[in-house]
């Protein structure tokens, strides 16, 4: 699953460690999500969405095109 985490983090000038602290996860977790090696759980995705004040679907993209309201 693609995501904009690296871009959103860079826009706020946060390091991976700083973002990890804000989410209360390990730096390895942030790195794994950013590089697409790990898809976060729904609670962690919601935490990210709240932190960046964005809807989850604006952060994560499952590559599925079409109407979101299908």
């Amino acid at each position: 699953m693609n995501n904009k985490l690296k871009v959103l983090r860079a826009m706020r000038n946060w390091s991976q460690a700083e973002l990890a602290d804000r989410l209360d996860v390990s730096r390895q977790a942030v790195n794994a999500i950013e590089t697409g090696k790990y898809d976060p759980s729904l609670p962690l995705a919601f935490k990210l969405a709240r932190l960046f004040d964005m809807p989850i679907e604006d952060i994560f993209d499952d590559g599925h095109e079409g109407n979101d309201n299908d």
């Binding site: 700083e18 602290d21 209360d24 996860v25 977790a29 090696k37």
Partner: protein, 145 residues
């Protein structure tokens, strides 16, 4: 100290991180105590690699080490599983599954080969260590790749 340093939030361990390192530290201390006790228990035994792994142990050590392993491991695991994040839990679960497979695939094969006179008796500790090694490799790969 520069302005940039002052503006950076001071990084303290969160309660989750404290629980995490407590569980690992406690596991290390218990392992160190049991290992040291085992060496002391075999101080009068002949010094060889074979003696370390299969030499006779005193009943006192056997009971104490067993209790430390079971109770200590249970306490460490409870603290650990309350402390790990999503990503580590994911690594742990897949590593545990891989470790389980590393046990259930070879164990019956070894057992039937032995019963057919084609292999020595199945060694529980060899299977245990093999399972543990597979578990560790998969865990480290998923956590740090």
């Amino acid at each position: 100290m520069t302005d940039a340093d002052i503006s950076k939030p001071r990084r303290r361990m969160s309660p989750r991180q404290k629980r995490y390192w407590t569980s690992l530290g406690l596991a290390g201390v218990i392992g160190g105590i049991v290992g040291g006790w085992m060496v002391a228990d075999q101080a009068n035994a002949p010094h060889s690699i074979g003696a370390i792994f299969s030499g006779a142990l005193t009943p006192g050590f056997a009971m104490g080490a067993s209790a430390a392993w079971v109770i200590g491991l249970a306490i460490c695991m409870i603290i650990y599983h309350r402390a790990i994040d999503d990503h580590e839990e994911h690594a742990w679960l897949w590593a545990s599954l891989a470790g389980w497979y590393a046990f259930i695939f070879p164990a019956p094969v070894w057992w039937v080969l032995h019963r057919a006179g084609m292999a020595p008796p199945a060694e529980a500790m060899i299977l245990f260590v093999f399972s543990l090694v597979v578990n560790c490799i998969v865990y480290l790969w998923l956590k740090f790749r």
